[in-house]
C-alpha cells in the first residue's frame, strides 16, 4: 500500500485508521438513539460559521446540542460536559468555559463533568493534533448560545412577554422593562421543554462582552484537587476486589514468547497468579504485544513477581535493529534522490549552477514520551460487558478497540476517562487498556495493569528517527536560489500497515512540503525507510526534525553569508503572501486551506514580535549567544529566541527564552503561556538529552537516569510568552504542540552564536565538552 500515492486513504486515519463511511443517522439508529435527541451537525454549514474547520471530517464529527452538553439543576448549578481528555493543556476547563461564556452562566456555579467515551453522543473525542480549541471554539459557543436562548424563551413564556425583551445576564434572565428576574435554576425545568434553536438562527455574544474568553483569569477546574492529592488519574482508580497486574512483554517489537517458568514468581508474597497475555503480530495498530502477566494483591508484589519470572523470547524479524547501523542507512538514503513530493522550478539544475552550495545533514533520534504517569488502566469485564477506567487521549477509539478485542458490541463497552498524568501522544494508543480488558476477562475480576517506567521505555511507540538533508544553493549576491530537502524517516503508518517505506501525508505536511520560504527552485523528497519498531505520535511529531533542520539551515546560510540570523530568516520568508506549494493534496493538519492558509505575513509577524520583545541583538556576556527560529505547525505560528550560556567546560545553561505565538482567536491566555513554557522545557530536554537507542532490537535506556529530561536546575531561568492579539474572526489554531519545534533550532543557532560550533546531530549530549 502506497500512502503517498493515495493520501486519501489516510484521511481520518490521522490518529486512527477509522474512516467513517456510515452516515451519522444510521449510527444513531443502530444504537437506538432517536434522531431528535442529537442534533445532526456532522459538517457545519458555511452560513453558521465565520470560518470552516476540519472538525466535521474527524470520525463522528461534531455534535452541537445543549441537551448533550449542558444541564441546569433546580438549585441553579450548571453542569457542563468536558468531552476531551485532560492531559495538562487545560482543555477540561477551556471548553466548558466557552459554553459558560455564551450561556451567561456564572463560572462559580458551574460544575464540569467528564464525558465517557461515546463519539456518537458527543462527537469526536480524539484529544490530539492540538485540535480541541480549534475545532470546538465555535461549536461550544453555539451550544452555550442555544442553552441561553432556551432559558430566555422559558422566561419570556413565564412572563408572557416577547423573547426579544428578555436577556440572560450572569446566571439569571431579566426583563428590564418590568425589572423581573428569574434564576437559571428556576427556569431549568421549563427550559428543558423548549425546542433546541437552529444553529443558523443563533445570536452569539459580541466578543467585547466576553467575561471569561481571552481573559485568562479562571484557574483550571482541577487545581484544588491536584494540590491536595484528590485528583484522580488512571493509576488512582480502585475497585472492590481489584487485582494488580504487571506484564513482561517481548523486549523486541515483533518478538514472541517461547516459554516461561512461573515458579519463583509464585513464591513472592502477595503474588496470586501468573498468566499469559494474548499478543498480536507486528504491526497491528494498538493491539497488545502479549507476554506474561503477574497478578498480585498490590503493585509492589506484582513487580517483584515479574522480576522473578524466567522467560524465553524469540526476538523475531527486528532482533537485529541497531541505531548506529540504521543511522548510516538513513544518511546514505538521504544522499540519493527520493520520491519527489514538491517540485517548483528546477532545484537540481539550480544547485549545479549555484555560486555556493551549503549542505546540512541533520539527525534527530528516536524519542520517548515519558509522561510522568506511565501507561495504566483498570478494566472490569463481566460476560459480554466491559467497563474501563483509563487515562486515554482517544476515549472513542478505545471503546471501539476494546469492543473489537473482546469481540463484544461497542454499546457494551463503557470507557471512563480519568485525568491523564501527561499524554504527549503516547496515550492516543490504548494498548494498555486492551491489556487490562483481556486480563479482566480471563480473571473474572477487576484488574489494574500498571506499566513500570522501564516498560514505558522498552515497549512504547517511539518518536520516529530521521535524517533531514538540506542543500541550499546561493547565487553570487548571497541570495538563496535553490532548496533541496530530503527527509528520511520510518513512518507512523508502519505501525498500521506492514511494508510501509514512505512517510504519510500528515508527516510530510509537517514542515517538509509546506516549507514557506520564497525560493525559485524547490525540491522536497522522501527516500525510503522501513521501520523496525513501533513508531508513534510524539508531541508535535515530524515538526521536530523538520524545524530543527530547516531553521538550523537558515542559521547556516546566515553564517556563510555573514548576515544576522533574524534578517536572513525574514529574507527567506520573503514577501507577505499566501504560500501555495506545488503539492498534490497538501495536508494542512486536516484543515481547509481557505480558513488556514500558509500566511507569511503571520509568520513574519511572530518573528518581528519575538525579536522586539526578546530584545534581539541585545549585548550578551561572553560565552552567551542568541538564536532564533520560527515554525508554523498545527496551523499556528511560533517564533522563539533562546539565550544560551556555555562555560569553559562546555556546560550549557539557558538564561532566557522568549516566544511569540499567533494561534488566532484564543480562549485562555494563561494556559497558552503554560503550554509554551512547558514546550520550551520539552524542547530543551530533547535537544540536550533526548535519545532512545536500539541494540539487538532492544531499547537500551531503562529509566530517568539514562533517558534524561530537563530538571529544575537546568531549566530555562526565564521564559517569556507573547501572544499575538487576533484580528477579528481569525480562526483558532493549535497550542499544545506548536511550541516544541522551534525551540531546538533556536537553541542550536544560539550555541553557534556563543561558540562557533554548529551542531547538526541531536541530542547535544557531550558535543560541547572540549
Amino acid at each position: 500500500m502506497n500512502f503517498i500515492d493515495n493520501p486519501r486513504k489516510l484521511r481520518g486515519f490521522e490518529k486512527h485508521i477509522r474512516v467513517e463511511k456510515v452516515s451519522r443517522r444510521s449510527i444513531l439508529k443502530g444504537l437506538g438513539v432517536t434522531g431528535g435527541f442529537v442534533l445532526a451537525a456532522p459538517v457545519m454549514s458555511r452560513q453558521a460559521l465565520a470560518y470552516e474547520t476540519g472538525a466535521g471530517q474527524m470520525p463522528h464529527g461534531v455534535v452541537v446540542d445543549p441537551r448533550v452538553f449542558v444541564s441546569v439543576a433546580p438549585d441553579g448549578i450548571v453542569t457542563i460536559i468536558g468531552h476531551r481528555s485532560e492531559m495538562g493543556t487545560g482543555v477540561r476547563t477551556s471548553l466548558p468555559l466557552i459554553v459558560a461564556e455564551e450561556m451567561e452562566a456564572d463560572w462559580s456555579r458551574v460544575k464540569v463533568q467528564q464525558a465517557h467515551g461515546d463519539e456518537v453522543r458527543f462527537g469526536n473525542q480524539d484529544t490530539d493534533g492540538s485540535r480541541s480549541t480549534r475545532h470546538y471554539l465555535m461549536p461550544m459557543r453555539q451550544i452555550g448560545a442555544s442553552a441561553r436562548t432556551m432559558l430566555e424563551q422559558a422566561a419570556a413564556k413565564r412572563w408572557g412577554v416577547p423573547a426579544t425583551e428578555v436577556k440572560a445576564v450572569n446566571h439569571e434572565v431579566v426583563h428590564s422593562a418590568s425589572g423581573r428576574k428569574l434564576g437559571f435554576g428556576e427556569l431549568a425545568a421549563d427550559a428543558a421543554k423548549e425546542s433546541v434553536p437552529s444553529i443558523e438562527g443563533l445570536k452569539l455574544k459580541n466578543p467585547k462582552d466576553f467575561r471569561y474568553l481571552g481573559k485568562g483569569q479562571v484557574g483550571i477546574v482541577d487545581l484544588h484537587d491536584i494540590t491536595t492529592g484528590k485528583a484522580r488519574y488512571g493509576a488512582d482508580v480502585r475497585l472492590p476486589g481489584m487485582k494488580y497486574a504487571v506484564i513482561a512483554r517481548p523486549p523486541v517489537t515483533g518478538g514472541k514468547l517461547v516459554s516461561f517458568d512461573p515458579e519463583a514468581a509464585l513464591k513472592i508474597p502477595g503474588v496470586e497468579k501468573v498468566m499469559q497475555v494474548r499478543g498480536w503480530p507486528w504491526p497491528s495498530k494498538f493491539q497488545p504485544l502479549g507476554g506474561v502477566a503477574v497478578i498480585a494483591r498490590n503493585t509492589g508484589a506484582a513487580i517483584k513477581g515479574r522480576d522473578a519470572l524466567k522467560l524465553v523470547w524469540d526476538d523475531g524479524p527486528n532482533g537485529k535493529y541497531d541505531s548506529v547501523a540504521y543511522r548510516k542507512e538513513l544518511e546514505e538514503a538521504s544522499r540519493k534522490p527520493g520520491l519527489v513530493l514538491r517540485k517548483e522550478g528546477d532545484a537540481d539544475a539550480a544547485l549545479k549552477g549555484a555560486d555556493k552550495v551549503i549542505v546540512g545533514e541533520y539527525y534527530v533520534p528516536h524519542l520517548a514520551h515519558v509522561a510522568m504517569e506511565p501507561p495504566v488502566a483498570v478494566a472490569n469485564v463481566k460476560g459480554d460487558t466491559a467497563e474501563i477506567w483509563a487515562p486515554v487521549q482517544s476515549p472513542g477509539g478505545t471503546r471501539e478497540d476494546v469492543a473489537k478485542t473482546l469481540e463484544i458490541p461497542e454499546g457494551n463497552v463503557t470507557v471512563n476517562v480519568t485525568l491523564l498524568g501527561g499524554g504527549f501522544g503516547r496515550k492516543s494508543k490504548c494498548d494498555f487498556a486492551l491489556e487490562a480488558a483481556l486480563l479482566s476477562k480471563e480473571l473474572g475480576a477487576p484488574v489494574k495493569v500498571q506499566w513500570t517506567r522501564e516498560d514505558d521505555l522498552h515497549n512504547g511507540f517511539v518518536h520516529t528517527v530521521s535524517v533531514e538533508r538540506i542543500e541550499a544553493g546561493l547565487d553570487k549576491s548571497g541570495k538563496v536560489i535553490a532548496w533541496r530537502h530530503r527527509s528520511v524517516a520510518p513512518s507512523i503508518a508502519s505501525t498500521f500497515a506492514a511494508g510501509t517505506v514512505h512517510q504519510a501525508p500528515f508527516e510530510i505536511g509537517m514542515g517538509l512540503v509546506d516549507m514557506p520560504f520564497e525560493i525559485a527552485n524547490i525540491s522536497c523528497e522522501n527516500p525510503e525507510a522501513a521501520a523496525h519498531t513501533r513508531i508513534g505520535w510524539f508531541r508535535s511529531v515530524s515538526n521536530i526534525p523538520r524545524a530543527f533542520a530547516v531553521q538550523s539551515m537558515v542559521g547556516e546560510i546566515a553564517q556563510a553569508t555573514g548576515r544576522d540570523q533574524k534578517d536572513m530568516l525574514l529574507e527567506l520568508i520573503g514577501s507577505p503572501r499566501i504560500v501555495k506549494p506545488n503539492v498534490k493534496d497538501l495536508w494542512n493538519y486536516g484543515e481547509p486551506q481557505e480558513s488556514y492558509p500558509i500566511d507569511t505575513a503571520r509568520l513574519r509577524k511572530v518573528v518581528e514580535l519575538v525579536a522586539e520583545k526578546g530584545e534581539w541583538g541585545r549585548k550578551v556576556p561572553k560565552g552567551h549567544g542568541l538564536g532564533i527560529a520560527v515554525h508554523r505547525s498545527f496551523v499556528s505560528y511560533i517564533a522563539t529566541v533562546v539565550e544560551v550560556a556555555i562555560d569553559d567546560k562546555g556546560k550549557l545553561t539557558v538564561p532566557r527564552v522568549d516566544t511569540a505565538i499567533d494561534c488566532g482567536t484564543y480562549v485562555n491566555p494563561e494556559r497558552i503561556a503554560s503550554q509554551i513554557e512547558g514546550a520550551a522545557i520539552m524542547g530543551l530536554s530533547l535537544a540536550k538529552y533526548g535519545e532512545i537507542t536500539f541494540k539487538d532490537g532492544k531499547v537500551q535506556q531503562k529509566n530517568f537516569d539514562d533517558f534524561q529530561v530537563v530538571r529544575m536546575d537546568d531549566s530555562p531561568v526565564v521564559t517569556n510568552v507573547y501572544i499575538v492579539p487576533p484580528a477579528s474572526d481569525t480562526p483558532p489554531s493549535g497550542v499544545g504542540e506548536p511550541g516544541v519545534p522551534p525551540f531546538a533550532p533556536a537553541l542550536i543557532n544560539a550555541i553557534f552564536a556563543a561558540t562557533g560550533k554548529r551542531i547538526r546531530s541531536l541530542p547535544i549530549g557531550k558535543q560541547l565538552e572540549a
Binding site: 498524568g421 517506567r453 513554557e677 529544575m712
Partner: protein, 150 residues
C-alpha cells in the same frame, strides 16, 4: 506486624516487610495522592515526608518507616491550605498535575528546613523532582511565594 503512623493514623502491615512504602500507601492504605513515576528514586513523584524529611516512597520499604510518622499529600493540611498548596494555586502551577503532590511535599520539606531559600537553593532542592509538562518556572515562583507569605 509493622506499625506506622500515616497522617496521624496508626496503620499496620503483616505482609512482605520489603514492600515499598509507595505501594503500601497506594494499594493497601488507599492513599493514592502519592504517585508512582519511576520506582528508582529518580523522579520524586512519590515524595512523602517522614519525620520532617522528604523521602522517596518508592525505594523506602514499609519496614524502614516502622514506628515512624509519615505525612502524605493527603495529610499535609486538613483543608489543603498549607502555604505551599496555597502558593501553588495562586501561581497556577500545574499542567497535568501528576507530579505535583511530590513537588509540593518536597517544597514543604524544604521550607521546614530552610524557611527563606534563595532562588538557587530552590532550584537545587527541587531538582530531584521531574515535571515532564515543564512547570519549573512556576514551581520555583510558588516555592518563593510560599516562603515569603501567601
Amino acid at each position: 506486624m509493622i506499625k506506622v503512623k500515616i497522617n496521624g493514623q496508626e496503620q499496620s502491615w503483616d505482609g512482605d516487610p520489603d514492600l515499598p512504602l509507595l505501594w503500601f500507601l497506594r494499594d493497601e492504605a488507599g492513599l493514592t495522592g502519592t504517585k508512582y513515576g519511576c520506582g528508582q528514586a529518580l523522579c520524586g513523584a512519590c515524595t512523602v515526608i517522614v519525620d520532617k524529611q522528604a523521602v522517596r516512597a518508592c525505594i523506602t520499604s514499609i519496614n524502614d518507616v516502622a514506628g515512624r510518622e509519615v505525612t502524605t499529600i493527603e495529610g499535609l493540611h486538613p483543608n489543603g491550605d498549607h502555604p505551599v498548596q496555597k502558593a501553588w494555586r495562586q501561581v497556577n502551577v500545574p499542567q497535568c498535575g501528576f507530579c505535583q503532590a511530590g513537588q509540593i511535599m518536597q517544597a514543604a520539606a524544604l521550607l521546614m528546613d530552610n524557611p527563606k531559600p534563595s532562588h538557587d537553593q530552590i532550584r537545587e532542592a527541587m531538582s530531584g523532582n521531574i515535571c515532564r509538562c515543564g512547570c519549573y518556572q512556576r514551581i520555583e515562583n510558588a516555592v518563593h511565594l510560599a516562603s515569603t507569605g501567601v
